[in-house]
Amino acid sequence: MGNTGLYIATGVAAFFFLIPFYVLLRNALSTDPQITGEHWEFFPTNLQWGNVKELFDDPQVDFAQSLWNSTVVAVAMTVGILLVCSLAGYALARIPYKHANKIFYVVLGTLMVPTSVTFVPSFVLVSSLGWVDTYRGLIIPGLFSGFTCFLFRQYFLGFPKELEEAARVDGLGYWGAYWRVVVPNSLNFFAAIATITFINAWNAFLWPLVIGQDPGAWTVQVVLSSYMTNQTVVFHTIFMATAISILPLLFVFLFLQRWLVQGIAQTGIKG
């Protein structure tokens, strides 16, 4: 394949990948009659920036609140998962303990059961703790990701032992070595996992759908879904909301992309 062919193929693929973004922006900045009109208007000339204001002024749905909820949940989940899962992954990889293998299988076992399968009893459990409609209910049950723990374990298995031994020589215990040597030398991997976790937390739907009973506790995704089945459909608001819901992640992405790629390359997510 020549260079021209290469660029044509990539360009065509990119064109298709960009269509949804185009549709999203076009609809978000149009009026409803433009969207539902007889003929498809490719590039509306009078962009309706007022749609942004209209979205946030909507008395029926507190969109700003849902953005805030999603932010709190995603940030807290990212920090929590990194902390809890990395520590456990490290223990499983590096701290010799006679039952470590058995415990590893306990963790592996959860990989086989999609959490969504058990979300009915999970919901009942969480609600009997009184956590429905709270950030706790949205965040804490999702922190114990067997998969993330597994990834950390795999990563730490490949972490250079010499570094830790040097730390040990300096008189540091496991705890000290972990925070002073292991973590600072693993920031790339942490950043990669953080990015993925943040995206997943921001985009999660099923659990927030069930936990957020009160509209005040809804995350952005639940609000979007409710737009789709709402009794009245206002297209430009719906698409503006979708566009704004994606915006923070696009920034996260463009900013962290290199990091994410490097993190993945470094660890290789081994099979």
Binding site: T36, E38, P59, Q60, V61, Q65, V72, V75, A76, V79, G80, L82, L83, F123, V124, S127, S128, G130, V132, D133, T134, Y135, R136, I139, V183, P184, N185, L187, N188, L209, V210, Q213, D214, P215, G216, A217, S225, S226, T229, N230, Q231, T232, V233, F235, R258, W259, Q262, Q266
Partner: protein, 421 residues
């Protein structure tokens, strides 16, 4: 090591930031009391759950009524999603269960002890209610819910389009299919009955001279006439004259208003919007006869208030229901006629509701009285679901109607056995 060395990033600062964020999360979690306790009155805290009505002003109205109540502080959960049943059922199992909620009369809620007996508050005014609305909420002589509104469902159309296409108002399903074909032009489809057709299952059964269940709570829908009706629906579905894949469901007036179709199945509630869009160029007709031996029908849906018998404040909730939906006739009339149009179940209110006295609304009331079928409390959500599956299996999918009905029978019989032994 990567180019992104740690030099620029003091790792301490990163962790300090991380810890800060975690703390912020915890603090926020403590303050995560989302809008509860919004009511005005003193006394116990009550939570009520509503599905989101499409008409502007409805949410404010419900909250306004609640704010006017002095003996309890009433908070409203307004569920803006079509998934209302699931949300309601799931929440009822939890500590956060609402004290009162709106729903339709279904016997499993009674059998499982979920809804409280409201006989003592309804009985004194029983005679003022539409008798059908009492019957549909009664099990073994006890009344379990208070009807707020009755919502007849029928077809809306534009007479001018009919005239242009030379179509008369259809009285049989065959005529309806024919009309849909004649009214279909390029970008406008003849008919819209909702994307998944679930809304017309019951009318189709009634118009075939059958019923969902008979008086002895046995299957009554599995008749040759219904099978014939399903075959006709399949013909209509594949004709290309039916609007499918519309962005809004049948309950939303948009499809007809936006000119996507010429006839739309919808409800009385949407009448004000249609009238605003088309003025006098608007007519209604009931679901036509499925077969010649049948009778036209109208589904009288609606919403009722129930009290959660497993809630913490059953008595306070009953008091509130009595205050608002029995005593406050002004609010009841406001609720039934100020936003969408609904028929008040109370005779005394219906008699004074001037908005429903003339013109098209009066015609809607006439269809309601003449052709209406009310909810059967024995026809539960699981059975309703099974009947929707019939539509999916033999109208949208090219299945055999007999087989689809057999499958439905299996589910319905399982339910009946659980409920009635």
């Amino acid at each position: 090591m990567s180019a992104l060395s740690n030099d620029n990033w003091s790792r301490r600062s990163i962790f300090r930031a991380a810890a800060g964020m975690a703390a912020a999360g915890t603090l926020a979690a403590c303050g995560g009391n989302n809008g509860r306790g919004g009511g005005s009155g003193s006394g116990p805290q009550l939570n009520q759950m509503f599905h989101a009505y499409g008409e502007a002003g409805t949410e404010q109205a419900i909250k306004r009524y609640a704010a006017a109540y002095k003996d309890a502080s009433v908070n409203t959960q307004w569920i803006t999603s079509a998934d209302f049943e699931s949300k309601l059922f799931a929440t009822l199992l939890t500590k956060n269960a609402p004290d009162l909620f709106e729903f339709h009369p279904q016997i499993q809620m009674v059998k499982s002890g979920q809804v409280a007996d409201l006989s003592d508050i309804v009985n004194p005014v029983k005679d003022d209610f539409n008798p059908a609305d009492i019957t549909s909420h009664t099990v073994d002589g006890k009344i379990y819910g208070v009807r707020m509104i009755d919502d007849p469902q029928f077809f809306f159309y534009r007479p001018s389009l009919f005239k242009k296409a030379g179509v008369k108002v259809p009285e049989t399903l065959d005529e309806l299919i024919e009309a849909a074909a004649k009214l279909t032009t390029g970008k406008v489809k003849g008919l819209y009955v909702g994307n998944d057709l679930h809304a017309i299952v019951n009318p189709l059964i009634w118009s075939a001279g059958a019923d969902t269940l008979n008086a002895k709570n046995e299957i009554a829908y599995h008749t040759p006439e219904v099978v014939e009706g399903l075959k006709k629906m399949r013909k209509l579905f594949t004709s290309g004259d039916l609007l499918l894949g519309a962005p809004t469901d049948y309950w939303d007036p948009s499809s007809l208003v936006q000119g996507l179709c010429a006839i739309q199945f919808c409800g009385m509630w949407a009448m004000p919007v249609f009238q605003k869009a088309f003025g006098d160029d608007l007519g209604i007709f009931p679901f036509p006869k499925t077969v010649d031996s049948g009778k036209q029908s109208v589904y009288n849906g609606g919403w009722s208030m129930f009290v959660n018998a497993k809630g913490k404040n059953v008595d306070a909730a009953k008091e509130y229901v009595k205050w608002l939906w029995i005593d406050q006739k002004k609010y009841q009339e406001d609720w039934a006629t100020s936003y969408g149009f609904h028929i008040p179940p109370r005779k005394s209110i219906a008699a004074t509701a001037t908005k429903l006295k003339s013109g098209l609304p009066a015609e809607g009331v006439k269809l309601f009285n003449e052709f209406g079928h009310f909810d059967n409390i024995g026809w539960t959500q699981a059975m309703i679901q099974a009947s929707w599956d019939v539509m999916a299996n033999c109208v949208r999918k090219s299945g055999d109607p007999e087989k689809a009905l057999d499958e439905c029978d299996k589910t319905v019989n399982r339910e009946l056995k659980k409920l009635f032994g």
